[in-house]
């Protein structure tokens, strides 16, 4: 099957700032693709170029086999889009807004809208302006999903959602995949993409620096681990373990970095009585710093 999204040498700058530098990206039809990067890396710029909201300086894009610039209407008919900072006139109700957007697409069944709203526990009849940020985000998600598009392009879809709704969202992504839809979603949080996506691309300073299966990415991902024991421990016991680095011990507290498999660490720790175990994901910037250090002198 053809790729759902292909970009070749896609480049975009704002004034003197290079936002996207020669992006070559392929998203396969039917997959869930996570587009990862810290804020300001060029994720939103890429997405807006795909929708023809922005125009590239050079390079090309193809979305569902169409050129966004010349065949945009035909392409956007088959795409559902959630902008990164979803905004609309707050004086209307979600029902009014969604009916309007559905009409622009030639009509969307009210049953479909209502069942999506129900899943998200979204009240369709109060004014959008009076909704919380999370509830507004749900309006944005409903409008992206409501016409069951072939391709969903979602910019930071879980921003503002509480954990339960974020899980509901990932469930909907899984259903979309089962139904043969392609999902392209951006995030600056690795774990979010880990759970929902098949593959992920990592973008930094406008450049795509890695595209990998999510399992592979997870294997290479790093966590900060802090363990509190009931008595003092020695550095030497942990320092040589597989996947473990930067070990430091302060009395009965051990801190380290864990890259990949946790097996050896857990088995070693288990010899002691453990009072607390904290595992934290580093932010993407830090992860890049350790693992994808391209050229630190880049001016992006």
């Amino acid at each position: 099957m053809d790729d759902a999204i292909v970009t070749r040498g896609l480049t975009k700058s704002y004034g003197d700032t290079l936002a996207l530098d020669n992006l070559d990206l392929e998203v396969r039809s039917g997959e869930v693709f996570g587009f990862l990067g810290p804020n300001g890396a060029g994720k939103t710029t890429t997405i807006r170029l795909l929708l023809d909201v922005l125009r590239p300086d050079s390079g090309s894009a193809s979305v569902l086999g169409r050129d966004p610039q010349t065949e945009g209407v035909e392409m956007r008919r088959r795409v559902g889009y959630l902008p990164g900072d979803f905004a609309t006139d707050g004086r209307q109700s979600p029902r009014e807004f969604l009916t309007y957007l559905g009409n622009l697409r030639g009509g969307v069944s009210t049953d479909r809208v209502e069942s999506l709203a129900e899943r998200f526990e979204l009240d369709l009849d109060s004014k959008i302006g009076s909704l919380s940020k999370g509830n507004r985000q749900k309006v944005g998600l409903v409008q992206a999903f409501m016409h069951s598009p072939e391709l969903l392009i979602l910019d930071e879809p879980t921003s503002g959602l509480d954990p339960i709704m974020a899980r509901e969202f990932l469930e909907m992504v899984a259903e979309a995949k089962d139904a043969g839809q392609t999902v392209f979603m951006s995030s600056h949080i690795l774990s979010e993409v880990q759970h929902g996506a098949d593959r992920a691309g990592i973008i930094r300073k406008g450049r795509l620096i890695a595209v990998d299966d999510v399992d592979e990415l997870r294997a290479r991902s790093m966590r900060h681990v802090q363990i509190v024991f009931d008595s003092d421990v020695a550095v030497g016991e942990f320092a040589g373990l597989d996947s473990v680095g930067d070990v430091s011990v302060d009395g009965n507290v051990m801190r380290c970095r864990l890259i990949g498999e946790a097996d050896q660490l857990i088995k070693t720790v288990a010899r002691h009585r453990v009072l607390d175990f904290i595992s934290e994901e580093p932010d993407l910037e830090e992860m890049f710093f350790h693992y994808y250090t391209g050229d630190e002198n880049d001016v992006a």
Partner: protein, 264 residues
């Protein structure tokens, strides 16, 4: 029904605003128009004659004792245009620049619509609103025409109201053009407002200085001239000029908006 297309939705979203403007225009028309019997007295004519002629001419007060002169200087010459134009510039600014800055335009153009369709439909909504503004003025004047014995044919009142609406449309279209080019709300309002002031002065003051008298002929206020229209009826060329310039400005807005990034 109102949610079916861009232009109907635009009007629907503005329904409260439009109602407010309509009430304001009706009030202005009734109050100003209703004062005609007071003004059409010898005392008042004497007062106007005591003014420096240049001032009277600049303000369009040369002919205050006739119904067309009075209405042309007041309802159709000052407050009517002011309200209609402010409303239209507001709508024209909101159409592109305003909705671009608040982020809602991105949502719209990410749908299966061309940018040209977005501009044309929002311009259509603006045109409907501007013509509506002219129509409520017409309606109000027609309502008091009998009671206060305004000796002006209905067709002339309708023509002056059409020009009033088209004048609003023209300046609203200018706001859309600036929005189409820049996407900036502040520029859209300020440039349009500046052009309104220049056009107003060109109509009122330019004729008094021989060297620049020709400027008057470029002013939409001159094309829409309420006094002449109320007296003589529609001047098709002037009315076409108002509509034609609006169409050109809208075409320019669509052209520019098609060629740039949105929401940067």
């Amino acid at each position: 029904m109102m949610l079916r297309d861009i232009w109907t939705k635009t009007l629907w979203d503005q329904r409260q605003t439009l109602l407010g403007w309509a009430i304001g225009l009706i009030a202005v028309s009734l109050v100003y128009g209703g004062f005609y019997p007071v003004v059409a007295t010898p005392d008042y004519a004497e007062l106007i004659e005591g003014l420096p002629p240049a001032l009277a001419e600049a303000m369009g007060w040369g002919d205050m004792s006739t119904p067309h002169g009075y209405l042309g200087a007041t309802v159709f010459g000052l407050l009517g245009p002011v309200l209609t134009i402010i409303m239209s510039i507001g709508l024209g600014t909101r159409a592109i620049a305003g909705s671009e800055e608040d982020g809602s335009l991105e949502m719209l153009i990410a749908h299966p619509v061309t940018r040209t369709r977005v501009v044309v439909q929002k311009a259509l909504a603006l045109a409907v609103a501007a013509i509506m503004a002219g129509s409520v003025v017409s309606g109000a004047i027609l309502a008091i025409r009998g009671p206060i014995e305004l000796d002006i044919p209905v067709a002339h009142i309708a023509a002056a109201s059409l020009n009033l609406g088209l004048g609003g449309l023209l300046f609203g279209s200018l706001a859309m053009l600036v929005g189409g080019i820049t996407g900036r709300r502040g520029l859209s309002i300020s440039i349009s407002a500046a052009v309104v002031v220049i056009a107003y002065l060109a109509n009122g003051l330019a004729p008094q200085v021989d060297a620049v008298a020709w400027l008057q002929d470029l002013s939409p206020f001159y094309w829409a001239n309420g006094t002449d229209t109320l007296r003589d009826g529609i001047d098709p060329l002037d009315t076409l000029r108002l509509a034609g310039v609006a169409v050109v400005l809208i075409a320019g807005a669509a052209f520019a908006f098609n060629r740039r990034d949105v929401g940067v």
